[in-house]
């Protein structure tokens, strides 16, 4: 075990995979988003110069180039920066990357990684705060990974690079500088295996990305008032670990889903709908969604915080649910 930041863990995974496989290429954009985490990548730039491509501001074409190259087995990691920019490449990701394997009846596959930084970053305002996970999940053929801590970031990134599917790797600006223990050596974390980040008997909190951090904070407060929350970190949406969700709800009888996307057709909607369909009799109370409010993200950091799900709101919602 060593202690690393989220950003360092991510870069370590990329570094390892570039060492292990000469077919891994990196489009050198702003992997860590804005804010100075790019230093971590200097050694990669130095050692793999011929596999590093400096991008123009052309999200659509680069996403499709990564897709075309993937058809010949090149595994391109394309960090698109702020998740909002991904909408410029929406067609290419959904209709080409996400569909080629199916359309070819399995003859080609698309091992490309699209890395984005989602969510409420502290001043991103309307056009730099997107959480695209819900929209992406509606499209077949795309794997979606969402780490919440350095150890998961590393293991999931390794899996993303090695996966033969297009993977959208959704990070959060506010996770980048957080530290955590990371196992020594190379290890992969398979997609589709949720992690119970905290065990508890009273309420199941399903979360992803930064909201897992918020949920863990909230759990401490809740514990003080006698509510033990079980925290299910999905880690990947595609594939989804439905069993982990249902098992936990079976135990607690109460479901709260926390999600940074706006409520309609969100990840929270999907988890609640899945449990309603497959485990309604497990529920002692109606399930609760906790989303970003159904508005755009205002520039002001205080209002941004008000708009997003946050620790206080999780506490409040869990109390109401258990009360």
């Amino acid at each position: 075990m060593t202690v690393m930041t989220h950003a360092e863990a991510l870069v370590a995974a990329i570094r390892e995979c570039m060492d292990e496989d000469e077919n891994v290429a990196l489009v050198w954009g702003s992997l860590m988003g804005v804010g100075g985490n790019n230093d971590h990548v200097e050694h990669i730039k130095a050692d793999f110069a011929d596999r590093i491509f400096h991008p123009p501001i052309s999200e659509a074409a680069i996403a499709a180039i990564a897709t075309g190259a993937a058809m010949d087995g090149v595994r391109t990691i394309f960090p698109m920066g702020t998740a909002s920019f991904m909408f410029r490449a929406w067609d290419q990701i959904i209709h080409e990357a996400g569909a080629a394997h199916y359309m070819s009846n399995g003859a080609v596959s698309i091992p490309a990684v699209f890395h984005v930084v989602h969510g409420l970053r502290g001043g991103g305002s309307v056009q730099h705060s997107q959480s695209p996970q819900s929209m992406l999940w509606n499209a077949p053929g795309i794997e979606i990974a969402m780490p919440s801590c350095p150890a998961d970031a590393k293991g999931l990134m390794r899996t993303a690079i090695k996966s033969n599917n297009p993977t959208v790797f959704i990070d959060h600006q506010k996770l980048n500088k957080r530290s955590g223990e990371v196992p020594a050596g190379a290890y992969d974390i398979p997609f589709g295996v949720a992690d119970i980040k905290r065990v508890g008997a009273d309420v199941t909190i399903v979360a992803t990305s930064l909201q897992v951090v918020h949920a863990l904070e909230a759990a401490e407060t809740l514990s003080a008032v006698g509510i033990e929350a079980e925290i299910v970190d999905l880690r990947s949406l595609v594939p989804l670990d439905e069993e982990a969700i249902l098992t936990s709800v079976g135990k607690t009888g109460r479901l709260l889903v926390v999600d940074e996307a706006p409520p309609r057709c969100s990840v929270a909607s999907e988890v609640v709908a899945t449990v309603a369909e497959k485990g309604m009799d497990l529920l002692k109370a109606p399930p609760v969604r906790l989303n970003r409010l159904p508005v755009h993200v205002p520039a002001n950091v205080a209002l941004e915080d008000f708009v997003g799900p946050n620790t206080d709101r999780i506490v409040e919602a869990a109390k109401t649910l258990c009360g």
């Binding site: 659509a60 499709a64 058809m71 010949d72 290419q92 394997h101 009846n105 399995g106 698309i110 996966s163």
Partner: protein
Amino acid sequence: MDKARLLDIFRHMILIRRFEEAVYDFHEQKLFGGHYHLYIGQEATGAAVMASLGAEDRIFSTHRNHGHLIARGVDPKNALAEILNRADGTNGGRGGTFHIADASVGMPHTSALVGGSVPLAAGAGFAAKLKKSGGIGVSMFGDGCFEEGVVFETLNLARMWELPVIFVCENNTPGAVLKSAGGNNTSNLPEGRVIQIPEALGMECHKVDGGDAEAVDVLFADCAARVRATGQPIFIEALTERWPGNYFSFPSMVTGVTQVSMAWDGGSISGEHQEWFLNHDPVLRFARQLLVSGVANFGDIVGIDVEVTETIKAAKEFAQSSPLPGTDSVYAHVLAGEG
């Protein structure tokens, strides 16, 4: 002048023509649904381009893909089966006319979105560069693609990243019947503003009569060799007079089934489309060239036609007797498994 090579190009051209006539026939028989597009009138470009490409090269096409696939060597049996959405189709029947692809011949994916496959071809160039495979990426696309910004982005990227790619824009707006009627199946760029765009980016650019197989072959062979040597992209605008049957969404066989004898029997040409038969039909044009230059005689031409006609006849039978994929098959290949 390589006789075998020219005859091979001709063989592919007439094979495409017979293939497209078969597709039209299938559609008339309502054997497949949806709209579709034929490559009639553009055979010279597709067939001549493929003559210089090898196993390491990758070609990406569009909604108007049949000719490129046939010229590249996909089996007409499987291509026709795909158009009928049958189990023996190149894509197991799930792609259909829009998406026929065959990775085994280096055509891994066909996008039916305008401009969709242009950056994919650049991606093949990217892969070739990274793997030092010696291959090149080739993008076959229509003039309408220039209206989509992603195509411009791709041209810029190919220059910037020095990708070994040849962009072949088949400009079939000349002669477009529906342009004045407001059809959108043709580009709206200011007249003659196609090649100017890659030129503005400083890319090596060429213009060629896309209806002249030999001219395309000579130019493309040269370009392909240079892209392999330099790794720099090249752009080619192939001007092809639009086939009169190329309507907005559904083609119409207004020029009838091709009689190769029209190449030498001028008397048999008359009617509304006389001008097209005499000056533009690339199959007839090339047949005349081969005859005049002594590469082929009437018998050779007829012989090739008989042979490919047989091939297509057998392919039609194969396609029609191929089973539909079972409903259970729809679940397969949403996600790929482990390597």
